[in-house]
Amino acid sequence: MFGDPLLAGDIGLAEVLIVLFKAAITFGIMLGSVILMIWFERKVIADLQNRVGPNQAGPWGLLQTLADGIKLIFKQDLVPSKADRFMFALAPLLAMVPAFISFAIVPLGGNFQDKGGVVSWFGHDTYFQLADPPIGFLLLLAMSSVAVYGTMLAGWSSGSKYPLLSGIRATAQAISYEAALALSLVSVLLISGSLSTHDIVVKQAGEGFLGFFPNWNIIVTGIVPFVVFLIAATAELGRTPFDLIEAEQELTGGYNTEYSSIRFGHFYLAEYMNLITMSSIMVTLFLGGPAGPIFGPSILHPVLPVVWFVLKVLMFLFAAVWARATLPRLRYDQLMDLGWKALIPIALGWVLLLAALQVGNDQNWNMGLVMVVSLGVLFVGAFLLFSALSASRQPELEEVI
């Protein structure tokens, strides 16, 4: 059922070469898009803030990231005397590698309209994605947790107080939002019935509600899991308004304060790689990935899915920059409140609702009754939770008064 048709039969030299070719392409796309993304963010945020942004290196400042990278490589690499040297060297890699690995499961193209996302390269049928493991997006959850180790160990091994505080914050933030992140993905799993990103995209490529809306999970799961995932992913990435990990005013720079030279560059790359990976995953799981209308001359057919995919990802990237230009940083208790008291209960409740509907559908129960009963249970639960939360606040207030 799952798996790349390339790897279904015997594996010879041609198959290995194609996989290597795909790995090189994915790596190249990732690095190239990170370089462009850093430029894009600086340029767009400048536009949003009445500035001009980088405009000196190359046309429209396009080569600014390369210039910065070259500068970073040639700078002195300092290690604090109190640092744990092994961990200090390991942390940037731990931050960077998981972003690459998560990106491997993203379908980047392929005609999902009539060919089921299978592309034909060098006479072999395959998927336009580096890997389609059976565990699917569980790999993303695992890798985004590992990536937090990079931040945490960087903060801990620096032997310096501000990075340490930042590392602690990163840990707490990741724990708080990982649950909401995973729970919102359970909704997708319930609808799609598969963990494989490829199968999820195939499922979304079909005709949707009323034949007018696309069959994307953002609509099929009801918009709630998408919103929860968007917020939780932003928090997981440590981007505004959840950038407490890098709160410059409080932590001088956060976990990367003691890093210099290309090791700092690794963190910088990792941050943007994670952003691109997370946006791609969001597009894959909720917005149908490369699925989209295929039209025009047949020469366009292999290109259009990639174009759809890039457009969808660009929308998220722009939104991330836009949010950074607009929103102030949350306070720490607001961050924790939002994670534990809002996102996790909402995601959990929605999963239960979807599960009830799914079971009702499978068992041919009366759907109206199922709907009423589940919504009723949901509201009772929400009321109980709300009153519990307000009750927990009560004694504090009385003490103060």
């Binding site: 536009d47 949003l48 803030q49 009445n50 500035r51 001009v52 405009n55 836009w322 949010a323 230009a325 607009t326 929103l327």
Partner: protein, 204 residues
């Protein structure tokens, strides 16, 4: 709607014009009284205005001016008076361009041009002597290789630049309050700066 309103505000900025000047290629016009690097002025007959009184050195808060006066040679006087500035040095690594020397000068010998874009590769270059500071025979400041002069920065470098009128009276409108100088003669009086209708006229 607070948060969404914020998003709308930033989004509108995408389409607004930028007021940024692309600096090294284009430069904004400098304010008429920008404090820049000094010049030592000369009278219309070519005599130096500096009389070597060292008031500028005395008033300088950064102690960057070094002056030694000397008796004018009788057969070839440098300045119209008894003495002249024999040594005149300004260290631009120390100068803060406060213009106090300009205000202290009794003969309007030292004034400031609008040039501030100059830098040095060694400390000796930063010490300007009379050879660099005294205006040339057209009354214009000398251009040194490491200075980035733009059109308009070398005119009006003279007493016209004085921050206050002589005697401390602000009512200098229409009055010529400075002496003639080499290359320019007596400059026209300065326009008033009170925003009144009579403030036009003169050289702005």
């Amino acid at each position: 709607m607070g948060v969404l309103g914020g998003f709308a505000v930033t989004f509108k900025k995408l389409f607004e014009d930028r007021s940024t000047t692309p600096y090294p290629e284009q430069k904004r016009e400098k304010a008429p009284r920008t404090h820049g690097r000094h010049v030592l002025n000369r009278y219309e007959d070519g005599m130096e205005k500096c009389i070597g009184c060292e008031l500028c050195a005395g008033v300088c808060p950064a102690r960057c001016i070094y002056v030694r006066g000397a008796e004018n040679p009788i057969d070839d006087p440098v300045s119209p008076g008894e003495r002249y500035g024999y040594v005149y040095e300004i260290n631009y690594l120390r100068c803060i361009h406060c213009d106090l020397c300009v205000e202290a000068c009794p003969t309007e010998a030292i004034t400031e041009s609008k040039l501030f874009e100059f830098s040095f590769t060694n400390r000796d270059d930063a010490i300007y002597t009379k050879a660099e500071l005294v205006v040339d025979d057209q009354g214009l400041p000398k251009h040194l290789p490491w200075e980035d002069w733009r059109p308009g920065e070398e005119v009006n470098t003279s007493a016209w630049m004085r921050a206050t009128s002589p005697g401390g009276s602000a009512d200098y409108v229409g009055k010529v309050a400075w002496t003639a100088e080499l290359g320019f003669g007596v400059r026209a009086p300065e326009a008033g700066q009170r925003g009144e209708a009579s403030d036009t006229g003169g050289e702005a």
